[in-house]
């Protein structure tokens, strides 16, 4: 019996290893090929950084990257502020319709982004906003909000509500309580939420695809058009960079979200 258990355990571990390999192989290959001089991904490898240097001169990609970056920053700020405020409200108060409001957070995540994106396109067109950065930000914040609220709410679960009561008993009004007592405690959750919002916005393809205009695009959309035209290793290069960035952001977010529960 013991040997059977040990055997199963080891089989399980090997299986897990295979899956992890499966998850990372394509990414690894793509990153590898970004350093390969061959334009057609021929093996054997011919190491070079020429594609990264070409990237540096590719104004379309650089503009799109800059766009993605500042849109992500704006989205992060707005979504974090709005989302944190809503999460605090849910934590602090009971009011009619609270359950409905909490349920309404799900549609943006549960509806295919294709539908949300096209609906936004229709609506923004109808009200005269059209496409462009403003529309993109509107869309990105809406998609990021539920994530921020969920993350901050999770952190608030470790917060003793009596701390707010104690502050109030000492004369602090709502804002003072939030500023001196609540925010310091949930800071790690807010940071994690902000990082999530950044990742959601920076990596967003579908909604951006419908809301950007040519010439004023975001990085994923530009990459998509490039892919449709045909592959070049420049795409590998920029893709590798993006993946590296997203993974770093998410590692940071995981650190903050996790260590949030330990203080």
């Amino acid at each position: 019996m013991m040997n059977m258990n040990r055997l199963l355990s080891n089989v399980g571990r090997v299986y897990l290893g295979i899956i992890i390999v499966f998850l990372y192989v394509p990414i690894f290959v793509m990153a590898l090929m970004s350093f390969n001089a061959s334009e057609f991904y021929q093996l054997p490898m011919d190491y070079t950084t020429i594609w990264y240097r070409k990237l540096w001169n590719n104004s379309e990609i650089l503009d799109a990257a800059w766009n993605s970056l500042w849109i992500a920053c704006v989205t992060t700020v707005i979504a974090t502020v709005l989302g944190t405020a809503a999460a605090i409200a849910f934590f602090r108060y009971e009011f009619r319709g609270k359950a409905i409001l909490q349920a309404l957070l799900f549609p943006p995540i549960a509806i295919p982004w294709l539908i949300t994106g096209t609906a936004m396109l229709i609506f923004f067109f109808s009200i005269g906003l059209g496409r462009g950065s403003k529309a993109v930000i509107l869309g990105h914040v809406a998609l990021a909000l539920p994530y921020v609220i969920v993350v901050v709410t999770a952190r608030l679960r470790t917060f003793d509500p009596q701390l707010e009561e104690a502050a109030r008993s000492l004369g602090a009004n709502g804002w003072a309580v939030t500023r001196f007592v609540t925010l310091p405690w949930i800071a790690s959750g807010v940071i994690a939420g902000a990082l999530f919002a950044f990742a959601v916005s920076f990596d967003q393809f579908v909604v951006s695809y419908f809301l950007t205009q040519p010439g004023d695009s975001t990085l994923p959309v530009v990459i998509y058009s490039a892919i449709r035209k045909g592959f070049t290793p420049e795409i590998n290069a920029v893709s590798t960079l993006i993946i590296a960035l997203s993974m770093t952001v998410m590692l940071l977010a995981a650190r903050y979200a996790k260590f949030g529960g330990e203080r």
Binding site: Y41, Y93, I115, S239
Partner: protein
């Protein structure tokens, strides 16, 4: 903390309203607008005359082409979901039950991390791997004694592989959380009563982790059914699905009313499936 007088209620409103105004403007109003559009013959605010009509929905029911594609998309969703569950659940099980301590957290993070990177880029990475004369060829040729040329690009299988790779972490995540919540003491108690490994799996572990598993399944099925980017990149001509047709209406053909109608049909189907599985999902919370 509900009070007489306006105090806390107003504060709550102040904190909550901005987020929900934003959601209304960016999600709920657009969805309503799209519903409105689906009943129009032409795009308003342009030169064309427009009127209310059911033609767009009629398109769907009259041309078998659309229904076939919707069915194809649903099949794709089911296949990808099924594969993800089959591959992902054992993975989550190993993580939750077999691995302990710091390794467990580290490995979990390792599995989840790709999930949070750009899905477009991950699909592209598969395009690199799957094309002919590429990595797979070289690897297989190195292993096998005979020459092989494998070109999986622009096939249905390629789309499946890409989608499974994209969404696998979802199932692993939700299953892991559900499995982790199962008290080890429960399993020990069952063993002390003489239950075999298979019994424990079938009668304790699976039922208890089912809600988490299904939550993951739904979170995969919904996006996959509406996907267009993955089919386009990996599927080529074999990559025509309901999602790509909808995308066409907005990007190529500019028949927005038809696109809106098709979107709503998709939405209706998705909501039906969500509603049907909600009793099980409620238990996941």
């Amino acid at each position: 903390m509900v009070a007489r007088g306006g105090g806390p209620a107003t504060s709550a409103a102040v904190l909550v309203t901005p987020a929900y105004i934003w959601l209304t403007a960016a999600v709920f109003l657009p969805l309503s607008m799209m519903l409105f559009f689906s009943f129009l013959s032409d795009v308003p605010f342009t030169d064309h005359a427009w009127r209310a009509t059911l033609e767009n929905y009629g398109e769907f029911f009259q041309k078998p082409f659309y229904a076939t594609l919707l069915w194809r998309s649903l099949k794709l969703g089911a296949t990808v979901t099924g594969l993800c569950i089959l591959i992902g659940f054992p993975c989550a099980f190993v993580l939750a039950k077999t691995i302990r301590g710091r390794w467990r957290e580290a490995l979990f993070l390792l599995v989840i991390l790709p999930f949070w990177s750009n899905s477009l880029v991950r699909i592209f990475s598969w395009a690199i791997v799957l094309r002919g004369n590429g990595v797979i060829d070289a690897t297989l040729n190195a292993i096998l004694p005979f020459d092989v040329s494998v070109n999986l690009m622009f096939t249905y299988s390629a789309v499946i592989i890409g989608l499974v790779h994209s969404y696998l972490p979802y199932v692993i995540l939700t299953s892991y959380l559900a499995l982790q919540a199962i008290d080890d003491d429960l399993i020990d108690a069952a063993r002390s009563l003489g239950a075999s490994r298979r019994t424990i799996l079938w009668r304790i572990i699976l039922p208890l982790s089912l809600p988490g598993l299904l939550a993951g399944a739904v979170l995969i099925f919904v996006p996959v059914v509406g996907s267009f980017m993955e089919p386009r990149i990996l599927g080529g001509r074999a990559g025509t699905f309901f999602g790509t047709v909808i995308e066409d209406q907005f990007v190529a053909v500019f028949n927005w009313p038809l696109g809106a109608a098709l979107s709503f049909i998709l939405l209706a189907v998705v909501l039906l499936i969500l509603a049907a599985s909600s009793p099980v999902l409620k238990r996941a919370q």
